[in-house]
C-alpha cells in the first residue's frame, strides 16, 4: 500500500513538472508571457521549487527537520508568487474600467485582510501547525479574492476573456481544495500526511490542465484606451438613479405591510 502510494506520488510529481514545462513553453511560444508576466513567474517558481524540494528530500530524507522547514519555507515563496498572479488576473479583468477598478481593488484587499485574520483566529493554536495554518489562511484569502472578483464581474456585467476566467477558476479551485486538505491534515495529522500530499498534487494537476487549455492560443488584447464619461456625469446621475431605485423599492415595502394586514 505504502509502495503504491509513494509510486503514485512520484508519478504525479513528474506529471505536474512535465505539465508546468508544457505550460511555460506554451506561454513563450504563443507569446502570451508578456500579457501574464506574474503568472509565468509563478509557474516558473513552482517548477524550480519542485526540483529543489526533490533534491532536499533525496539528500536529507523526507521526514528530516531540514526538509520540513525547507518545504514550508519554499511554499511561502510559491504562495507569494501565486498571490501576484491572482492580482494580475484581477487587474486584467477590471483595470480597464478605471472608476470601478479603484473601488474593486480596495474591496478585494479588505476582503483578503478580513478572511486572513479570521482564518488565523479560527485555527488551532499549536506551534507545530503554525506553517500549515498560515498557509491555509493565505489560500482562503486567495479563494475569497477570486470569488469576490467574479461577483463584481457579474454585478457590473463585464465581459471577461476566457483566459482570465480560466486562470481565476483554476486558482480558486486549487486554493479551496488546499484549505480543505490542510484542515483535514490539522485534524488527522500523521495519518493523513501521505494522502495530503497526493491529493494536493492531484488538485494542482487539474488546475494546471485548465490553465494549459486556456492558454493554448495566442491572446488578443483590446486596446485599453476607453472613452470615459466626463467626471461630473457619475456624481450627478448616480444619486438620482439610486433615489429612483429607492422609491421603487419603497413602493414594494409599503405594499407588503399593508397587504399583510388583510389576509
Amino acid at each position: 500500500m505504502m509502495v503504491t502510494t509513494a509510486f503514485m506520488q512520484q508519478s504525479l510529481w513528474a506529471l505536474n513538472s512535465a505539465g508546468e514545462v508544457v505550460l511555460l513553453t506554451l506561454l513563450v511560444v504563443r507569446k502570451n508571457h508578456p500579457s501574464y508576466p506574474a503568472f509565468s513567474f509563478y509557474v516558473f517558481v513552482d517548477l524550480t521549487v519542485g526540483a529543489a524540494q526533490l533534491f532536499v528530500y533525496r539528500h536529507w530524507g523526507f521526514d528530516s527537520d531540514i526538509a520540513y522547514r525547507f518545504g514550508w519555507g519554499t511554499q511561502g515563496m510559491v504562495l507569494l508568487a501565486r498571490a501576484l498572479a491572482v492580482a494580475e488576473v484581477c487587474r486584467h479583468v477590471l483595470s480597464r474600467y478605471r472608476g470601478v477598478w479603484a473601488l474593486v481593488w480596495r474591496a478585494l484587499v479588505l476582503v483578503a485582510g478580513l478572511v486572513f485574520s479570521y482564518s488565523i483566529l479560527f485555527a488551532r493554536h499549536d506551534w507545530r501547525l503554525a506553517f500549515p495554518s498560515a498557509y491555509r489562511a493565505l489560500e482562503l484569502s486567495i479563494a475569497s479574492i477570486v470569488v469576490t472578483l467574479l461577483i463584481f464581474v457579474r454585478h457590473y456585467d463585464v465581459k471577461t476573456e476566457l483566459q482570465d476566467r480560466s486562470l481565476a477558476i483554476g486558482f480558486c479551485l486549487y486554493s479551496c481544495f488546499a484549505v480543505l486538505n490542510n484542515t483535514l491534515l490539522e485534524r488527522l495529522l500523521d495519518d493523513y500526511s501521505v494522502f495530503w500530499n497526493l491529493l494536493g498534487r492531484l488538485t494542482f494537476l487539474a488546475s494546471l490542465s485548465l490553465w494549459t487549455w486556456a492558454l493554448r492560443n495566442p491572446i488578443f488584447q483590446v486596446d485599453p484606451r476607453k472613452i470615459l464619461l466626463p467626471q461630473g456625469v457619475y456624481q450627478s446621475l448616480t444619486p438620482e438613479i439610486n433615489l429612483r431605485l429607492h422609491l421603487l423599492n419603497e413602493q414594494l415595502s409599503r405594499f407588503w405591510p399593508a397587504e399583510a394586514k388583510h389576509p
Binding site: 454585478h155 480543505l180 472613452i227 464619461l229 448616480t238 397587504e259
Partner: protein, 192 residues
Amino acid sequence: MSHFFYFFFGFVAVLLALLLWSLRSPKKQAYSSLDPTAFQGPDRSHATYLSQIHRALAPADFEFLASRGSAGLARRVRKQRHRIALLYLSSVQEDFQKLLRLARVIAILSPEVGAAQEFERLWLGVQFSLRCHMIRIRLFCGIASLPQLSGLSQMASGFAVRMETAIAELGERAALATELTSSLESRDIRPR
C-alpha cells in the same frame, strides 16, 4: 469535531456556491448591459399602463360580479386579475432592472465612482429582488388582496411617469457613450 473544522468546511462550501453562482450565465437578455438599445425600450413604458391596471384591480368589479353573476365567474375573474397583478409586478421589476443596468454602465464608463453609491445600489437590488419574490409567492398562492395592489399602482403612477422621462434622458447619454466605446473597441483589437 471542533468548531474550527466546521468553520473551514462551511467557508469553502459558501465560496464554491458563490463561485458557481458568479459563473452562471445571466438571465437571457435581448441585449448586453453595454448595448445602447438596452435603454431605448418600447415606445411606451410599462408605467403608462398603470391606469388600466388600476381599473382592472378595482374592487367594484368584483362586487358587481358577485351580485349579478355567479360565484364561479367572480372566481375566474379574480384569478385572471391575479395574473395581471403578477405581470404588473414583472414590469415594475423590469423598470428596476433597466435603471440598474443604466447605473452600471455609467459606473463602468466613469473615471471615478463612489463606494457608498455603489454599495447602496447593490443593497437596493437585493432588497427589491427579495420583496418581489415574496409578493409574487403571495400572489401566486392567492393570498394577496387586490385592493392593496391597486393602492400600490396609485402610488407608483406619479413616479413611473417621471421615471420614464428620466430613463429616456439618461439612456440617451449612456447610449452615446457606449456607442463610442464599442466602435473604438471594434477597431482597436490587436495581438498583444
